[in-house]
Symmetry: C2
Subunit: 211 residues, 2 copies
Amino acid sequence: MRRFLRPASPARRHQKEQTITTLRERKREQSRLGAVEAAWRLFIERGYDHVTVADICAAADIAPRTFHRYFASKEDVVVEPVRRMTTLLTDHLLASSPEISDADALHQAQREVGRFALEHRELLTALRLVARRSNHLRVSQIALRPEQEAEIATLLAARRPDGDATDWRLRLLVGSSTAAFRVWYEDVFTSEQPDPMAHLDTILNAITISA
Amino acid sequence: MRRFLRPASPARRHQKEQTITTLRERKREQSRLGAVEAAWRLFIERGYDHVTVADICAAADIAPRTFHRYFASKEDVVVEPVRRMTTLLTDHLLASSPEISDADALHQAQREVGRFALEHRELLTALRLVARRSNHLRVSQIALRPEQEAEIATLLAARRPDGDATDWRLRLLVGSSTAAFRVWYEDVFTSEQPDPMAHLDTILNAITISA
DNA sequence: CTGCCTCGTGGCACATTCTGCCACGAAATC
DNA sequence: GATTTCGTGGCAGAATGTGCCACGAGGCAG
């Protein structure tokens, strides 16, 4: 579970192994991590609706006031995995070669996210259940959300000389590919797939956007 | 604006013109409608974040307790138009001929929703702004949301003898078509389209799902 | 018409989330 | 070693959302 976390948020340093964490930083991470882990544990245990921020704080041994400095809302803790996957996706997009097509770049990045999801299948399954069981949680899908599609489109557009992110074909590519990923994600977590990654390829390749 | 509302929620009677509204029903509708209109007006005026439930209740002349009987949350009032469009879509799907393909049925229904959106363009534009300006509102898109995709898939599946809603091709059709609609919706509200409906057709037809 | 039942309403108390403000103390800096 | 930075927690308060109960008007027999 630990591997799931942190090393992505503070703008991953591309300088090699710059692990000069100051004590303050470490304590901060500890606070945040402690809160996340306590929250997830309690959510899985009792369900999102039956866990209060106070409960989480008691378990993580921090003050509610501190909790709300790290997370804008209780829901925010749940979205953490989504953020993690989004970061993964955008990182891969940023690193992708300008040679390959938009679709290829996007799909390669999505395969990375898919691999990640499979690696953390157990935790994601649990969180998916948490989300489904709750009446108040508005995040029904622990997966890429349409909110981030605009960002992805921008990144893809940035790879090109013209950099036009308003092109509807580009946005359609992003939207439909994200939809495809959600379909796969659903399949992976509801039925046994003999070869999940092959299944992802099948779904991603099933969509064609006419030029 | 009034036309936008009500006549859809209490399971539209297919019996012709069954307008035997009792006084109680009328008062109920009046309460709800008054709240919605007051809320929208205030939201557009001051922005979602700067309007409290108490404000809405004062404007609509109802008690906060009553407000929360009609709406699960303040956000719920904003989602009203989305619900309206979803109802429109599902109604058309239910009424669609079993002869035509899934894609055709869905796209025809989406064209209806598109027409509806264009009719109420002014109001939807305002609500779109409200959603964008807010920091707390989680509904970033006043359009069809992925949450309802499962329902749409079920309806489409129900038109067929086997009724298999788990078929990933079907879900992919729904997901990508919904994404296409969002792309169109975005275009319509951000740039001038000479022929919006033609544009919708173009986008919907741009997607192909291989058999 | 009359009495009874239904049900929309509002008041009240309360749990809960989230924020602004301030002060303490440890970590970082000079 | 003195000063500044900053993470933390306490407190008060705004705001959302819910359970419970009582009132009163609409609906329904008789």
